[in-house]
């Protein structure tokens, strides 16, 4: 884990003091809401439907038990006992009071956390693979590079007022667990033929109202040149991005309008200049960061036999654990998607429990996933049973990773002031409809994603099944789309036809799933069958 140096800490502490002063001036009336709003947004504070909402950054989704417990204590002391994990690997508190925020931020700063750049037209929290440093299939740990990018992008003076928000994801594996093709910039670590480390660079992906898949603008940039190259990407965007129209201001529109080859040419031209400025860090600085992500001291000669006599435990092991690069270890995903629950919500007590488990069993490491779950990355297989027992007791042992009930849902109209329709109740009804664990397992991998409006925070464009809430004459209505993916095989889902009521969309999902079960060939997921047979049979089953 990266630990702040004195510069990091001083920057964050100074910001806490600034914001405390700004809040006092707002509360005394010295500052109007119009003056205050951009300042609070720069500190992650939104005004939502029922209260203020604070979004706390979890850099590349990694945190330790001390930080996790702090989130739990803030949930307990200042929220109503909950934290909500989001698709950007962050955490949102939905019930915050403005007058408490300086104190909350001060407490976060004591554990090297903050809410800086979690909103506004700047470079947001860098996201990454939740299995980083643990996955059996990775070229290298992406987190030192994500940390380097975090430091570079924090308070970057030139990029504080970009045309629009900017999201970067970095992975180090072949399998894409971070949706890099749907980010403004996606970076994939790889080695060239000579074995040198570098990155494939994708630009111009995104969701929102105009979903687009990123284009590869460079197949390989040597790691030593990463920062200057990304700086050049941002500079071209900052200069030519569409500031005239908020709906066209994301980099995806610029790349689309110029064409990826022309955008890439302009980046190369800019980079030729930027490279001469000495922006890339010296090796020593990179080594300083990388050392903090050194692999933990994995034990050797551990047993790999698991007692599978308890069927519930065996199912959970099969569904919610993944292969670890060290023998005798496993990666555990703690599902925050119980039947009928709110996707991504955790109580303060659950947050504390996960912190305890991480400290005891996972080298004090925790990860947040973009599908709103929590990961214990380095667990000995012989401890899985004890972990499972503790999770069962806390209502956290749902064995549904990547199944139809492992739904991503945005806050929707229950909390969000931009929403057209509620998302969470739809998720709840679908998890209830498919509650039977045998049925879920038989259906297999099925990524269902729900957004309450076209901003697509719930990734509906990337769902094998996507649901979008719309406003139809003042009533909630839901559009269904099929065929999206956020993995290596990224695709954008297509709307299948007229929308549905809340109950109607749950029925339609069930009909789609049953159609798939009737048509699938051995080994096919819902997405594979849909891609093979096309929309027609599904449409016939749903619309009759």
């Amino acid at each position: 884990m990266y630990r702040y140096d004195t510069y990091d800490q001083a920057l964050v502490d100074a910001r806490v003091a600034d914001f405390g002063d700004q809040v006092a001036r707002r509360l005394s009336g010295e500052m109007s809401e119009d003056q205050f709003k951009p300042l609070r947004l720069m500190n992650g504070l939104y005004l939502q439907l029922h209260a203020y909402m604070l979004r706390v950054a979890i850099p590349y989704g990694t945190l330790d038990s001390r930080q996790m417990r702090m989130l739990g204590s803030i949930a307990r002391d200042y929220d109503r006992g909950y934290g909500h994990f989001t698709t950007r690997q962050n955490l949102q508190f939905n019930w915050i009071k403005l007058e408490d925020t300086p104190e909350i931020l001060a407490r976060l700063a004591t554990v090297e956390m903050h809410a800086i750049q979690t909103s506004g037209n700047c470079i947001r929290n860098i996201s990454s693979d939740q299995y980083a440093g643990a996955a059996a299939d990775e070229v290298g740990d992406p987190r030192p590079w994500a940390e380097l990018l975090r430091q570079w992008s924090s308070f970057h003076p030139e990029f504080s007022y970009l045309p629009r928000k900017f999201k970067i994801a970095v992975i180090g594996a072949e399998q894409d667990r971070a949706a890099i093709q749907l980010h403004d910039i996606g970076l994939q670590m790889r080695r060239d033929d000579a074995g040198e480390l570098g990155f494939r660079v994708l630009v111009g992906g995104g969701m929102g109202r105009t979903p687009m898949i990123g284009s590869v603008i460079r197949d390989f940039i040597p790691a030593a040149d990463l920062l200057s190259y990304v700086e050049a990407c941002l500079r071209v965007y900052n200069r030519y991005g569409r500031r005239d129209n908020i709906y066209k201001a994301r980099i995806k529109i610029l790349v689309h309008e110029l064409g990826a080859p022309e955008y890439a040419r302009q980046v190369e031209e800019e980079w030729a200049h930027v490279k001469t400025l000495g922006l890339d860090p010296p090796q020593a600085e990179y080594d300083r960061i990388a050392a903090q992500f050194a692999p933990p001291a994995f034990a050797e000669g551990l047993p790999t036999e698991i007692d599978r006599s308890d069927a519930g435990f065996a199912h959970w092991v099969d569904q919610n654990t993944a292969a670890h690069k060290a023998a005798g270890y496993a990666i555990v995903t703690v599902s925050l998607k119980p039947t009928g629950g709110i996707p991504g919500d955790a109580t303060a007590d659950q947050i504390d429990l996960i912190a305890d488990l991480a400290e005891r069993y996972s080298f004090d490491e925790i990860r947040i996933t973009h599908s709103q779950n929590v990961v214990l990355p380095h667990v000995q297989q012989q401890d899985l049973r004890a972990i499972w027992d503790a999770l069962v007791a806390a209502g956290l042992a749902t064995a549904n990773l990547d199944l139809v009930t492992d739904i991503i849902a945005c806050p929707g109209l229950d909390y969000c002031s931009l929403a057209n329709a509620r998302s969470i109740p739809v998720a709840q009804k679908i998890t209830e409809r498919f509650a039977d664990p045998d049925r879920q397992r038989d259906i297999g991998e099925l990524k269902l994603k729900i957004s309450g409006c076209i901003n697509a925070c719930g990734h509906h464009h990337a769902g094998h099944i996507g649901i979008l809430g719309v406003d139809r004459k003042g009533e909630e209505n839901y559009q269904l789309s099929f065929g999206g993916s956020a993995a290596e095989d990224t695709s954008i889902a297509k709307i299948i036809g007229p929308g549905f009521s809340e109950d109607g969309v749950v029925d339609a999902v069930e009909k789609a799933v049953e159609t798939y079960r009737g048509l699938r060939e051995p080994g096919e997921r819902f997405l594979d069958t849909y891609r093979r047979v096309g929309l027609q049979p599904f449409k016939a089953a749903i619309y009759g």
Partner: protein, 112 residues
């Protein structure tokens, strides 16, 4: 009818204009007719409310009911956390019909 709503500056709580102050309860809201903008400006300046705005509502047997679902949810609280809902009984899914006995009242017609 038109009613005036906003949020408390310090707490963010949703509030409704009662004619003399701000209440957490929708059913305390009064018809502000054409005076909403002026009240909003004064109250916001005095820091008694944040981001106030006027909405359309309908007088029902229970009391004023916002025309738009978003404001009904603001009044009721999140539908997915009954314990956090301040007025879970508010029928958020029902677009309010004008209350029969009031339907022809001239003041009602004017306010709409």
């Amino acid at each position: 009818m038109k009613i005036l709503t906003g949020q408390n500056l310090a707490s963010g709580d949703v509030v409704w204009w009662t004619g003399s102050g701000w209440s957490l309860h929708l059913f305390d809201a009064v018809d502000v007719g054409e005076t909403g903008a002026a009240i909003a400006a004064t109250e916001e300046k005095a820091l008694r409310v944040n981001v106030p705005y006027v909405i359309d509502a309908v007088q029902t047997a229970d009391g004023p009911m916002p025309a738009h679902i978003k404001d009904r949810i603001r009044a009721a609280g999140p539908t997915v956390h009954p314990a956090f809902a301040i007025h879970p009984e508010i029928p958020i899914l029902k677009t309010p019909a004008r209350h029969q006995s009031n339907a022809d009242a001239p003041s009602e017609v004017k306010a709409n």
